[in-house]
Symmetry: C2
Subunit: 499 residues, 2 copies
């Protein structure tokens, strides 16, 4: 095949896939936001059909010939097209190894499992979700056998979300966190406790919605291209850099819950909103990896959003919106409250310091699910035992235990560790950013867009053009090093608790 | 082509079209509900692509051969497939006469015009919308030349929304309304006026949302399969009978506005929710015609929703929700207020009696646009002149004048008359329903589902399987007759105003 013919065919296929992805993502988004609960039948039919079309578009002899031709001439392509071809080739290389009927069956299973999880969580009914989960694990293992027959099945999953990440790295990483953070958390447990009771007063949801709008404004999020809505589990979705959606979940008696969901998802949104214009419409117009995405969300949530300066900046507005609830609270009390360290049940509500222990538990469970040393039926017991052992908390029911996260219902095994790695990236980037920007000063002045600009120049604009490691090198001039994360947490929480 | 091959191919194509329609409808729905304003670029690209795919699926030699084969064997097909083939053949017969590049250009123009209208209405800027409207009129005329070269261009439009309807029928119909209703409205204008000032107190939107939920419950709308959201102009959309959406628009100082939008759109929703299970997934799983759809929405809005018995039924709940605003109001005062006759500016806010004059104005303008006796540039002046002449009101700006409705921005010319015909159908059906059901008693007892059952059995379950005329015959045992509508309005308003 002629190179120019291959290029044209490739671009045409990408355009078509973009449309199908747009529709499929919107069908999902709508099904968890505006749709009536009974929409499942129609949504499932349409998604399955589109999935079939997308599969046929990418897995056929001509498409393979197009990719083979482009791969042979990689160095003649412009840098964006080159990386896009590499990405497409990688995904198709996996896809063509999966028989079509199994691929379609899997798609339907993922769709069904998501609905089943939504229902099971509401009714605290793990048993109704368990067969779906078992099926997803089976499918994932089977597919791993097709795509990476020589690789450890769980390592294959980890690599999907964070290129190069494996069990060996994570065993070392979590080992270091355990060694340094468990003793710190223990000392904090023996220190005088922070009063955060005012966070659990009654905060009307209408007021919280107003507060979300304000937070997005402070973060400099362009509402022309970013909407917010409400779902069970907060997430960010981008149809393109011109159309990004974040979601949150309001709890009337937990002010900090939606507040930090909005800032967290807002960080994801800023990444997508600031990918380069030159990448629009290509496979590269997305964050570089799950870890790099979590790096951004946690940078805004924790490094910015839980700093004393940020709370000082927004506190007058908080007191204005929640005048009744916060009249007897000071900015310093608010700062201390949103940083309170307390082992707890729910990952998304966890404090910055104990957060990684929640991830550790999921990591260990996933490892066991994939090496076969535990079955999905045994998950609630294992989950509850590990929460007791590592966090010292008793899990009262599965809704607040093994059913709390949506990830597994979407077949995302090996995703959780990227949350923790992302926080570690963020601390390292912050360390080096400080040479150029007086971060705390900038936050105090409400100039958060300067931080966003810094990150956009070094990370966001590249989309998937560079790998996570290349981006860390670009930002920090050195490879990834978890030491900064440990230091950052130790310094912050030692000072906070006067240890 | 073998008949069984043709049947299989036809069903396969229908399945694919259903998926594309689902996605395209959802993209539109989302763009006017949850999407950020800047989504246009991506939405336009994806919709155009799907439109192209759908065109190619239905307009090609094999598809024509399939339809020709099925049309030859019509009487061998089961009744549902037979009607579906007739419908498909009708739409493709038109479609294949339109050159593909023009069809695609039109699709883009419709999409652009809708966005332009949204903007123009907000900023009272008809001039920015006018070129879009002119283009849509041109396209519609041009397409009419392709599809119905021997037919009057406006008659061709009317026929699209209500089979068999034409200018001759409507000239007679509106002539009768003018003759009987204008004098009645004049006598009412000279009678003692109804006080409806309490409808314009401040009704918090959060409370109005609660009221909408209550109204949908009273109407017996199954929320598992019907959601409500908010848009500039209320509408109903069905992805299938399992997933129907209605929208409303809340005005803080106009209680009746959203209240009757919800009941009106709720009527449309009940029609779609009750199409037969045997029609699911076919082209017939929709209302029979625009007029028959409006018949349902106006049956619920006016015949039920504006009856004294309905107001008596819901008034205790109204006083509970709006305790501050309605403490000094009686049920009888509310009944009189929501039926107040007063010539006004906005069609969707018009009272039951003057409503048809709003339609008459649009009908006359559309006739002139299509016979070339007026240009889109002259529309605001013409609009304002007719409102003065027929309704005696001065139009202060285009936002409340020629820009008020979304229909023309979607290329729906010839749609408006079906609203009026629908009201006339409703009055005729009510007359005959009374032989079986004591309508007012049923409403008073909150048993509206009995009315819905009656309509479902005789109209809803048939979808597009029967024509409007066949449905009127089934319900009434006689053909359409506008006399019932005139009688109903005359009796109701004569009594209300003590004439």
């Amino acid at each position: 095949m002629e190179l120019n013919v291959a290029i044209e065919k490739f671009k045409n296929t990408m355009k078509q896939l973009r449309a199908y992805n747009h529709a499929t993502s919107l069908l999902y988004y709508d099904s968890v936001t505006g749709a009536p609960a009974g929409c499942q039948k129609g949504v499932g039919d349409t998604m399955q059909f589109f999935s079939e079309v997308a599969y046929k578009l990418t897995v056929n002899e001509e498409a393979f010939l197009v990719l083979d031709t482009l791969m042979e001439h990689l160095n003649e392509l412009d840098p964006i097209l080159k990386r896009e071809v590499e990405e497409a080739n990688k995904s198709v290389r996996d896809m063509r190894k999966i028989p079509m009927d199994e691929y379609l069956e899997a798609d339907r299973a993922f769709n069904d499992a998501q609905f089943a999880w939504h229902k099971a969580k509401v009714s605290n009914d793990y048993a109704s979700f368990e067969p779906h989960l078992a099926k997803l694990v089976d499918i994932t293992k089977r597919f791993s056998g097709y795509t990476d027959p020589d690789k450890d099945m769980y390592n294959a999953q980890l690599d999907k979300y964070e290129k190069g990440l494996d069990k060996a790295t994570l065993d070392t990483y979590f080992g270091l966190l355990k060694e340094k953070l468990i003793p710190l958390i223990k000392r904090i447990g023996e220190a005088e406790q922070i009063d955060d009771s005012f966070l659990y007063r009654s905060y009307p949801i209408e007021k919280q919605r107003e507060f979300s709008d304000y937070l997005m404004q402070v973060m400099g999020i362009d509402r022309t291209h970013c909407a917010i809505s409400e779902t069970e589990h907060p997430f960010t979705l981008n149809f393109s850099k011109y159309d990004v959606r974040i979601t949150t979940h309001y709890h009337e008696n937990m002010l900090a819950s939606s507040m930090y969901s909005v800032i967290h998802e807002g960080g994801h949104a800023l990444y997508e909103l600031n990918t380069g214009d030159d990448l629009y419409g290509t496979l590269l117009a997305n964050g570089a990896s799950m870890g790099m995405h979590e790096c951004q969300s946690r940078f805004y949530e924790n490094i910015i959003g839980r700093s004393r300066e940020f709370i000082e900046l927004i506190f007058p507005k908080m007191q204005e919106i929640f005048s009744e609830q916060l009249s007897d609270v000071t900015s310093e009390q608010m700062y201390r409250a949103v940083n309170k360290c307390q082992p707890s049940l729910i990952r998304t509500e966890a404090d910055e310091l104990t957060y990684s222990l929640h991830i550790l538990i999921r990591y260990e469970i996933e490892k066991m699910l994939f090496d076969g040393s535990v079955t999905t039926k045994e998950l609630p017991d294992l989950w509850n035992r590990l929460y007791r052992e590592y966090l010292g908390v008793d899990v009262p029911n599965d809704t607040n235990g093994v059913l709390q996260d949506s990830h597994w219902s979407g077949g995302s095994f090996g995703y959780f560790p990227s949350y923790s790695i992302g926080s570690a990236y963020a601390a390292q980037i912050m360390h080096h950013m400080k040479k150029t920007i007086n971060i705390l000063e900038v936050i105090k002045d409400g100039e958060i867009h300067l931080i966003t600009q810094y990150l956009a120049e070094r990370i966001y604009k590249y989309g998937k053009l560079l790998t996570p490691n290349e981006l860390i090198m670009k930002c920090c001039g050195e490879p990834f090093d978890p030491r900064y994360y440990i230091d950052y947490l130790t310094d912050k929480f030692t000072a906070l608790y006067g240890l």
